[in-house]
Symmetry: C2
């Protein structure tokens, strides 16, 4: 057994193993896309898929002038990311101007490749989960709406508040990305919806937080189809099993209290399916999620938030909560 940290996957070794006939899942192509944001953007651009305006460069002295030129061309603020290792808002900076960028760049001289991209004016964010077999057969769950605060996903709404045509286009785009990556298993494709356009933001070649709703909310969960896909078995249906599903992430509260001691209050909320990941509670740490399914979008969202708050999850700044839990 060889274990890697996520950002330190040795793609050369895996490719060599694959060349010698070893079965490598999810496949080196999709791993490279998932591990290296620069490679991911390049692959998508070459295939003509829509991505934010961006540039890749090394975190050395050259960065300052390139960043200045990019900001001048696309307008400030810009988003700077490390090409590898970022997640949940880590490894991502919003830079208001070149002066503000100096301090960040100074720390990133050894960070390897950097990615600068335009700050896309977001009308909404979406995510698509795709399950794909080695032979290319794939199924996608319908695209969902996600709400990120500070780069961290706070809620997932199915089908969300965008039109069915946008959802369908996003779902198709997710499938195209998975094909392009040659993904085997489940892949998450995170999208921006901006000015009537879909743009690919991030990808992950694994079961993903934005697909946890499928455990209770879809005929087949992302975990089951991930196993079916990597084992090259027929994929299960991805239809939602309820008209509306809301999934809200659970985070550690300020006092560091373990949410499991707050279970009675949260489980009293009708239809709240709680998932605690068994992680040590720390303020702001993602500790689990709650999913509620039902017939009404506002009811499932309100109940999911009520349960997450009952478990000590801090209220998100800048995200309008449902009326019943807003105060």
């Amino acid at each position: 057994v060889i274990t890697f940290d996520h950002e330190q996957v040795d793609l050369t070794l895996l490719a060599a193993l694959a060349d010698e006939g070893a079965v490598v899942r999810p496949g080196t192509g999709s791993l490279e896309m998932a591990v290296d944001k620069g490679s991911m953007r390049r692959t998508l651009v070459e295939a003509g898929l829509p991505v934010p305006a961006h540039e890749v460069f090394a975190g050395s002295d050259v960065a300052r002038s390139r960043l200045g030129a990019f900001g001048a061309a696309h307008g400030w603020p810009v988003i700077l990311k490390t090409a590898r290792g970022g997640y949940d808002g880590k490894g991502v900076w919003r830079l208001d101007d070149l002066v503000a960028a100096e301090a960040v760049l100074a720390q990133l001289a050894d960070a390897g490749a950097l990615l600068v991209e335009e700050l896309v004016p977001l009308d909404a964010e979406l995510a698509v989960m795709v399950a794909r077999r080695p032979n290319g057969e794939s199924v996608a769950w319908p695209a969902v709406e996600t709400a990120q605060v500070g780069g961290v996903c706070r809620e997932v709404l199915v089908p969300g508040r965008l039109g069915a045509d946008v959802v369908a286009a996003a779902t198709r785009l997710g499938g195209q990305v998975a094909d392009l990556a040659g993904a085997v298993g489940v892949m998450a494709v995170e999208l921006f919806w901006s000015g009537g356009q879909l743009l690919v933001n991030e990808v992950a070649t694994r079961p993903h937080n934005s697909g946890h709703w499928t455990i209770e909310g879809a005929v087949t969960s992302q975990f089951e189809n991930h196993l079916r896909a990597v084992l090259d078995l027929p994929l299960g249906p991805t239809l939602p099993s309820h008209p509306h599903v809301a999934s809200v992430n659970i985070f550690g509260g300020e006092n560091g209290e373990d949410p499991s001691v707050l279970l009675p209050g949260a489980l009293a909320i009708e239809g709240a399916h709680l998932h605690l990941y068994g992680k040590e509670a720390r303020p702001g740490r993602k500790l689990g999620h709650v999913t509620v399914c039902g017939d009404q979008a506002d009811v499932v969202r309100e109940r999911a938030w009520a349960a997450a708050l009952a478990l000590g999850t801090p209220r998100p700044a800048g995200l309008a909560l449902p009326p019943g839990v807003a105060s």
Copy 2:
């Protein structure tokens, strides 16, 4: 840790522990009902709940005359059961007459208490799952129709083919039995439907085969509510999440083939949720179950059977299979 075989639970020890303040779940009262069929019948009769005509006696020389008198009074054949240790058709005999009974009784002289009961002319069988907290608060999933062949459950249909009034009455009766038992956790109550009457057949104080459909088919599964109940947490809703659910048990085929090698064919059946229990495959051994949810009773039943048969499950003698898999 003290472990018991199911039929050898030391109720005296558990009662003593409970008296000293230990938390015993599901409770000695319900365990006694589950472990000892004689005790179960007596408790139900004393509470005025409907059970088949029956008599309890020891498996000694006296049995022969008592059995003869019972058969004369209630008609042959009769059903003979060991009070303890029977399940899935084991420990149960159908006796056509007193002569046929001799051979069986000869083996049972040391079997402890025996139960003889009338052969109830069955119009259908039902099962009710109830989850009950220590404070007596309980929820019941709607009663389901089960089909037994040779004392072994082959399929579970939700809501089944009986009228809503019968289902409601059966569900209520299940709740009464759980209250009577003082059950804590999940309890299964198996019922006969005979000549317009419901009769309590068997009980089990645990998650049960006839409740496996709840994993995909109900808002809260029997396993989740079992944990909630024994931990004294609020219970989750028991509503079915689909209009129709069918669950079919998977048994080892004649050639002893492991069903896991047959997964590709079974998973190709739309909506088939497969559960293999990881047991060694032996002909006739229960190895798992498959559940299908949907809008049409005939479709979900046909798909569930198609998947079970694709995994090598032998066709049941005497149970009419759906048209699509009948040949």
